[in-house]
C-alpha cells in the first residue's frame, strides 16, 4: 500500500512539473493544444494526490502500523472520527492535506475558467503548477508520509487535547484558507505574465478569495473557541506567533477584498491590488514556515525539523518572483483615474486598506522581532501582549468606525451637507449609546467605551442602509416588508452580504471588548461548603466526585451557582487525568462554564489545584458578552454565503462585458 502512496506522490510531482514547464512554454509560444495538455496535467495531479491521500486515510482506518506515520499518530482504541482527523495530526499528513487542497482548488479554478479569460488561464496553469511542485517536492523528498517499518503492536495514539471536534475541523479550515489564497495570487501573476492587467483577474477570482478568506476566519474562530472551552486559561487569543500566523494573511486578504472593489468600480489601485494579493499569499507561506520551523517560541511547538529551511526558500522565491513581476509590469498597471476627494467612498476604502495593512505589518514586526533582534544585537527580545493590544486599539478602533462610514458615503466626492444628512442618525445613536454606557459605569475602560460607541454607530449605519433599501424596494414593487427585504438582499448579494459580515465584525468587537475590558475575576481556596462571590454571582463548593472511564480518571468539583439570591443550578469543574505512555498521566483541566444566553455572559470556573484534604483552589471569571464572539462566527458565515451565492444576473452582466473568449468588450 505504501508503495502506491509513494508512487502517487511521485506522479503528482511529475504532473505538476509538466504543468509548470510545459504550461509556460505553451503560453510563451501561444500553442493552444499544448496549453490544454498542461491544464489537464494539473487536473490529473489532483486525482493522483487524492490517491495518495486515500492510501494514507486507509492506513489510519485499518490501523496499519507498518506506516510509521500511522503508528506515531493513531492507536487501535482511537475513535473512528479521530482516526480520520489524525491524518492531519502530524507534519507529513498536514502537508499532504495541503497539497490535496491546493491541487483541488487549482483543478477547479482552471476548469471553471476554461471558457473564460483564456489568455489569462494559460498563465495561471504554470503558476499553480509551480506552487504545487514546491509542496509535492517536499512530500516526495523531505517529509514522506509513507515511510514503513515492522508494524508494532499498537500506535502511540493521538494527543488527548486533539481528540475534540474543534480540533478535527480547525486545521482543515485553516488550510482551506491558507491554500485558497494561492488561486487569486496565481490569477494576479497570470494577469501580469500575460499583460492582461484589466480587472478580469479580479472578477474571475472574487469568489475564490472570498471562500479562502471565509475559511480562514472560521478556522481561526474554531481555534479560539477550542482554546476557550478546552485549554481553559480563560482567554481565547494569546497573540502567540502561530495564532498571528493565521491572522496576518486574513488581514491582508481583508484589505484585498475591499481594494479590488475600487479597481472594479473605478479602475484604480491596480498596483496596490497585486501587491496585496502577493502579500497575502506570501504571508500564508510565512505562516507555515513559522509553525513548522520553530524559529520563534510559541506555545504551539509543532514537530520541529529542517523543513523550515525549505519553506524559507519557498518564501524567498515567492517574494522575489512577485516583486519582479510587479516591477516589470508597472507601466501596464498605471491608472488614469485619480482620487478626486479625500472625503469619498474610494478614500474611505483606501484608509481602511492602510489601517488593515498597518495592523498586519505591525503584527509581522512583532512576530519577527525576536528573530531580527537576535540577528542584529545577539539578544532575542520578545514583544508581548501590551505591544499587540496597543496596535489593535490604535488601528482597530478607527477601522471599526470606518466600517460605518464607508457604506454610507458617496463615490467620487461627498458633499459636507450630504454627510450631515447621512450621518445624523448613526451619530445620534452612537452619542446616546456612549452617554448611557458612561452613566452605567463603562468608563472604567476607555478603549472599551470607544469600541462600544463606534459599534453603535456602525450598527445604526448598517441598519439604516437595510431600512432605506427595503423602503425604496417597497415603493417600487409594493411588496410586504419581509419580501422586499429578501429581494433587496437577493438582488445585491455582494453588498448586503458584505453588510452582514460587517455586523459580524461589530458583534466580534463587542464580544472582545466585553471579555477583555469588562471582565471580573476572583480566586481562592475553598473547603466544602464555602463560597466565592463575583459580580453578583455566588459560587458554592459542595464536594468532589471521582469517576473512572476507559481512558481517564475524572475528578469533578460540584458547585452551586446563585445570582443575587436566586438559585441558578449546579456547575461542574474538574480535571481529567489521561492514562498515556510515560510515568505521569496527562492532566487536563475541564473548566465549568455557565452561559447566560440572554445577555451572552459567561461564568467561567477554572479548577486550579485539588488538594489532598478535598479543598480546591478556584479561579472564577465573569465575562460579559463573550458569547457574541461565537454568534459573530455564525453571522460571518451567513454573510459570506450571501455574498458567495451564485448570481445569474451578475453572470449575464459579466457576459455582456466580456465576450466568449474572455476579452473585454469595452475598454475602461
Amino acid at each position: 500500500m505504501a508503495e502506491l502512496g509513494r508512487a502517487a506522490l511521485l506522479v503528482t510531482l511529475g504532473l505538476c512539473l509538466y504543468a509548470c514547464v510545459v504550461g509556460s512554454v505553451a503560453a510563451l509560444t501561444r500553442r493552444r493544444r499544448l496549453a490544454l495538455s498542461a491544464r489537464n496535467a494539473l487536473i490529473a495531479a489532483f486525482a493522483s494526490t487524492a490517491v495518495a491521500a486515500g492510501v494514507l486515510a486507509a492506513g489510519f482506518l485499518r490501523s496499519d502500523f507498518s506506516f510509521v506515520y500511522v503508528a506515531e499518530h493513531s492507536s487501535r482504541s482511537l475513535a473512528g472520527l479521530y482516526k480520520l482527523s489524525a491524518v492531519w495530526g502530524g507534519q507529513e499528513g498536514s502537508l499532504l492535506l495541503w497539497l490535496l487542497i491546493l491541487t483541488g482548488y487549482a483543478a477547479l479554478a482552471v476548469w471553471v475558467n476554461r471558457n473564460r479569460t483564456r489568455d489569462l488561464v494559460v498563465w495561471v496553469t504554470p503558476v499553480l503548477g509551480g506552487i504545487a511542485v514546491g509542496f509535492s517536492f517536499l512530500l516526495v523528498v523531505v517529509a514522506t508520509p509513507f515511510a514503513t517499518q515492522v508494524a508494532p503492536a499498537d500506535g502511540s495514539g493521538l494527543n488527548p487535547s486533539l481528540q475534540n471536534p474543534y480540533m478535527t475541523a480547525h486545521p482543515p479550515f485553516l488550510y482551506l484558507g491558507y491554500v485558497g489564497l494561492a488561486v487569486p495570487f496565481a490569477f494576479a501573476m497570470g494577469a501580469l505574465l500575460s499583460g492582461r492587467t484589466d480587472e478580469r483577474w479580479i472578477v474571475a477570482t472574487r469568489r475564490w478569495t472570498l471562500i479562502a478568506w471565509t475559511a480562514l476566519g472560521i478556522g481561526q474562530l474554531l481555534g479560539s473557541h477550542w482554546a476557550y472551552v478546552e485549554v481553559g486559561w480563560g482567554g481565547f487569543y494569546a497573540w502567540d506567533p502561530v495564532e498571528n500566523a493565521a491572522l496576518m494573511p486574513f488581514l491582508a486578504a481583508t484589505a484585498f477584498l475591499h481594494s479590488v472593489m475600487i479597481q472594479e468600480k473605478r479602475g484604480m489601485l491596480k498596483v496596490w491590488n497585486v501587491v496585496l494579493v502577493s502579500l497575502a499569499f506570501c504571508l500564508s507561506i510565512f505562516g507555515t514556515f513559522l509553525t513548522r520551523s520553530g524559529v520563534v517560541n510559541s506555545i504551539h511547538s509543532f514537530a520541529q525539523s529542517d523543513i523550515g529551511a525549505w519553506f524559507l526558500a519557498f518564501i524567498v522565491i515567492a517574494v522575489v518572483f512577485s516583486t519582479v513581476m510587479i516591477i516589470w509590469r508597472l507601466p501596464l498597471l498605471r491608472t488614469t483615474t485619480r482620487l478626486e476627494s479625500l472625503v469619498s467612498r474610494e478614500a474611505v476604502f483606501l484608509y481602511n486598506n492602510l489601517l488593515l495593512v498597518a495592523l498586519c505589518l505591525t503584527i509581522l514586526w512583532g512576530v519577527a522581532w525576536p528573530i531580527l533582534s537576535e540577528a542584529v544585537r545577539g539578544d532575542s527580545v520578545v514583544v508581548g501582549r501590551p505591544y499587540f493590544d496597543f496596535f489593535l486599539r490604535i488601528f482597530g478602533l478607527p477601522l471599526l468606525l470606518l466600517m460605518g462610514v464607508g457604506p454610507l458615503i458617496a463615490w467620487r466626492r461627498a458633499s459636507l451637507r450630504g454627510l450631515g444628512r447621512t450621518f445624523f442618525w448613526p451619530a445620534a445613536v452612537a452619542v446616546v449609546t456612549g452617554v448611557v454606557l458612561l452613566l452605567l459605569g463603562a468608563g472604567s475602560s476607555v478603549p472599551g467605551l470607544i469600541a462600544y460607541t463606534f459599534s453603535a454607530f456602525v450598527l445604526a449605519a448598517i441598519g439604516l442602509e437595510f431600512v432605506r433599501g427595503t423602503r425604496a424596494r417597497r415603493a417600487l414593487s409594493h411588496e410586504s416588508w419581509p419580501v422586499a427585504l429578501g429581494s433587496l438582499v437577493g438582488r445585491n448579494r455582494r453588498r448586503y452580504g458584505g453588510y452582514t459580515v460587517h455586523v459580524a465584525i461589530v458583534l466580534f468587537a463587542i464580544g472582545v471588548a466585553g471579555a477583555s475590558a469588562y471582565d471580573s475575576v476572583v480566586e481562592g481556596r475553598l473547603t466544602k461548603g464555602e463560597a466565592l462571590t463575583v459580580s453578583g454571582y455566588t459560587v458554592r463548593y459542595q464536594g468532589l466526585t471521582e469517576t473512572q472511564t476507559d481512558h481517564a480518571t475524572e475528578v469533578r468539583a460540584l458547585l452551586r451557582v446563585s445570582r443575587n439570591g436566586k438559585d441558578l443550578g449546579g456547575l461542574e469543574a474538574g480535571k481529567n487525568a489521561y492514562r498515556i505512555a510515560g510515568p505521569d498521566p496527562q492532566v487536563s483541566s475541564e473548566v465549568g462554564i455557565r452561559t447566560n444566553y440572554l445577555t451572552g455572559e459567561d461564568l467561567f470556573v477554572i479548577p486550579g489545584t485539588v488538594y489532598e484534604d478535598g479543598s480546591v483552589y478556584f479561579r472564577i471569571f465573569v465575562k460579559p458578552l463573550v458569547n457574541l464572539l461565537w454568534l459573530a462566527g455564525i453571522v460571518f458565515l451567513f454573510g459570506s454565503i450571501i455574498a458567495l451565492w451564485p448570481d445569474a444576473r451578475e453572470q449575464r452582466r459579466l457576459a455582456v462585458r466580456y465576450d466568449e473568449a474572455g476579452s473585454p468588450v469595452r475598454g475602461r
Binding site: E72, H73, G89, G90, Q91, S94, G155, S156, G157, L158, N159, S161, L162, G232, W233, A238, N297, S298, I299, H300, S301, F302, A303, L339, L350, L354, A358, L361, T362, W369, P370, S373, D379, S380, V381, V382, V383, G384, P386, Y387, F390, F391, I394, E523, R525, K575, I580, A581, G582, P583, D584, Q586, V587, S588, S589, I606, G608, T609, Y617, R619
Partner: protein, 125 residues
C-alpha cells in the same frame, strides 16, 4: 498620500516605543546571570517541583532546553499553573533574578504543548 500614511504609521510606532519601551529580552537559564531587570525565561523543568503556587509559591528549577549548559536556575512562581506543567516540559515565564532566585511575575507561566501535533512520548529527564 502613501508617503504620508507611512509617516503616520512610523509616528505611531515611535510613540509606542517611547511610552511602553521595547520588548522583554528572551533568555535561556545559562544566560540569565548577565541580565538585569525583567526578562522572559525559556527553559525545561528539571527535578520535582515543591510548594504551592496558590500560596507561598511553587519552586522548581529550569535549565536550557537544548545545548550542553548545565546551569539550573531556581524559580519561584505564584499564580495559575498550566495543566501541562510537569518535570521535563518546556515553559516560558517572566520575571527577574533576585539574589540568585528567579522571581516570576504572577500568572505569566506558559507551557509549550508537548509537540501539539505529534504523538506523546515520555519526557526524557
Amino acid at each position: 498620500m502613501i508617503a504620508l500614511s507611512i509617516a503616520a504609521v512610523l509616528a505611531v510606532f515611535l510613540l509606542y516605543t517611547s511610552i511602553a519601551g521595547g520588548g522583554t529580552p528572551s533568555v535561556k537559564p545559562s544566560e540569565l546571570a548577565g541580565h538585569q531587570g525583567n526578562v522572559s525565561l525559556v527553559g525545561q523543568v528539571i527535578g520535582r517541583p515543591v510548594g504551592d503556587a496558590n500560596e507561598e509559591g511553587l519552586r522548581f528549577r529550569l535549565r536550557d532546553v537544548k545545548g550542553a549548559a548545565r546551569t539550573a536556575v531556581p524559580v519561584v512562581y505564584r499564580g495559575s499553573v498550566p495543566d501541562l506543567f510537569a518535570p521535563g516540559r518546556d515553559l516560558v515565564v517572566e520575571g527577574e533574578l533576585r539574589n540568585g532566585v528567579f522571581v516570576a511575575t504572577p500568572g505569566t507561566m506558559v507551557t509549550k504543548c508537548p509537540s501539539k501535533y505529534t504523538a506523546i512520548k515520555p519526557s526524557a529527564p
